[in-house]
């Protein structure tokens, strides 16, 4: 009986844990990659919802498919100058959402390790500040994709 109780307690642990890992209360939707030809750097986009009661902070991402995954932001400066900058972290407020979408936040994907075609799925793992991880499937879409999938 004690061992069964222990199993039960372990089974309940994630639910009862008030300090749940950040990745546990983030859900990812609309994850996609704009595929570019000639092994050019590509962009990954995703919408992140924080369903928890504490902030989740995205600090990096990694993937077996890409040698380099970086959190970037495109911005429009004075005179219509478009530029890109690295982003150290992205805070998703409790019950809030952050959208990585064209012309804004994006995952810059470089050094692709295999040939991709539209329709493929690529796994990218999002890393949070507390060391927790959220694996996400990204749908590969053609270069000229625009409509929401």
């Amino acid at each position: 009986m004690p061992s069964r109780l222990l199993l039960l307690a372990i089974g309940l642990l994630p639910v009862g844990n008030l300090l749940a890992a950040q990745a546990d209360h983030v859900t990812a939707t609309e994850a996609w990659i704009r595929l570019l030809p000639a092994r050019l750097p590509a962009s990954g986009y995703v919408t992140l919802h924080n369903t928890g009661s504490s902030a989740a902070t995205l600090v990096s991402a990694h993937s077996a498919t890409y040698g380099s995954v970086m959190l970037h932001q495109s911005s429009m400066g004075s005179g219509g100058m478009s530029s890109m900058n690295a982003v150290a972290q992205l805070v998703i407020a409790p019950q809030g959402k952050v959208t990585l979408a064209p012309a804004g936040y994006h995952l810059m994907l470089e050094q692709v390790s295999r040939a991709l075609t539209p329709g493929d799925s690529v796994d990218i793992t999002l890393d949070f500040a507390d060391g927790s991880h959220l694996p996400v499937h990204f749908l590969v879409r053609p270069a000229n994709a625009t409509d929401p999938q």
Binding site: R34, L36, P37, A38, L40, P41, A42, S43, S68, H72, S74, M76, G77, G79, G80, M81, S82, S83, M84, P102, A103, H106, M108, L109, E110, P142, A143, N144, A145, T146
Partner: protein, 205 residues
């Protein structure tokens, strides 16, 4: 009363000037363009560059086509592909009329953007798109001609680098005259509307 002729002339000129001003304020026809009208404010299309098939081309090769000039680079993973994808949708919405238009993607990164890379790049977006590259001096001259700017940012450890660049799309008519400027803030509908006017039957070539 010593100079009645001059007085008359001055009055006439003044009336003429006022008349011009009034006619400018009260145009009979409403301004048909939804994008920024740059007619007379930007020089005609003129360049000598290498296209994505490795051939030397000049602006004259695109006479008879409405051209959409955009400065970008292929290692730009976010904004340039978004613009090109949006231009692809615009071309699709124009249907058959799109055959009268060319999208000129001019590389502001000629060191990396060879004709071969540009070819794969533009064809991934739209059959009406042409990639153009050239010597850094020729590219810079063209960007200066249209007051577009670009800056190569500091390199990263792996030798790669980003380029900040102007994001406007310059529209020229079939005679190479600068007509319209579309910015990223402009809705796609405006570009479709104005290209319909420039490409449609009855429009000046």
């Amino acid at each position: 009363m010593k100079l009645p002729r001059f007085a008359h002339l001055t009055t006439l000129l003044l009336l003429f000037a006022v008349g011009l001003l009034l006619s400018a304020c009260h145009q009979d026809e409403p301004q048909p363009w939804q994008l920024t009208n740059i007619s007379g404010h930007m020089p005609d299309l003129s360049f000598r560059l290498t296209n994505d098939e490795g051939k030397t081309v000049t602006a004259d090769d695109y006479r008879g086509k409405v051209t959409l000039l955009y400065f970008g680079y292929t290692h730009c993973p976010d904004v340039c592909p978004l613009t090109m994808a949006q231009l692809h949708v615009v071309m699709q919405r124009l249907g058959k009329l799109a055959d009268g238009a060319s999208i000129l993607f001019v590389s502001v990164d000629p060191n990396r953007d060879t004709p071969a890379v540009l070819h794969e790049y533009v064809k991934a977006f739209d059959p009406h798109a042409v990639g153009l590259t050239g010597s850094p001096a020729d590219i810079e001259a063209l960007t200066k001609r249209y007051r577009a700017a670009f800056t190569r940012e500091a390199g990263k450890s792996d030798g790669s680098y980003d380029v900040s660049h102007s994001s406007g799309i310059y529209v020229f008519d079939g005679n190479g005259k600068a007509r319209l400027l579309a910015t990223p803030e402009d809705a796609q509908d405006k570009l479709v509307h104005d290209l319909h006017l420039l490409l449609g039957p009855g429009s000046a070539p």
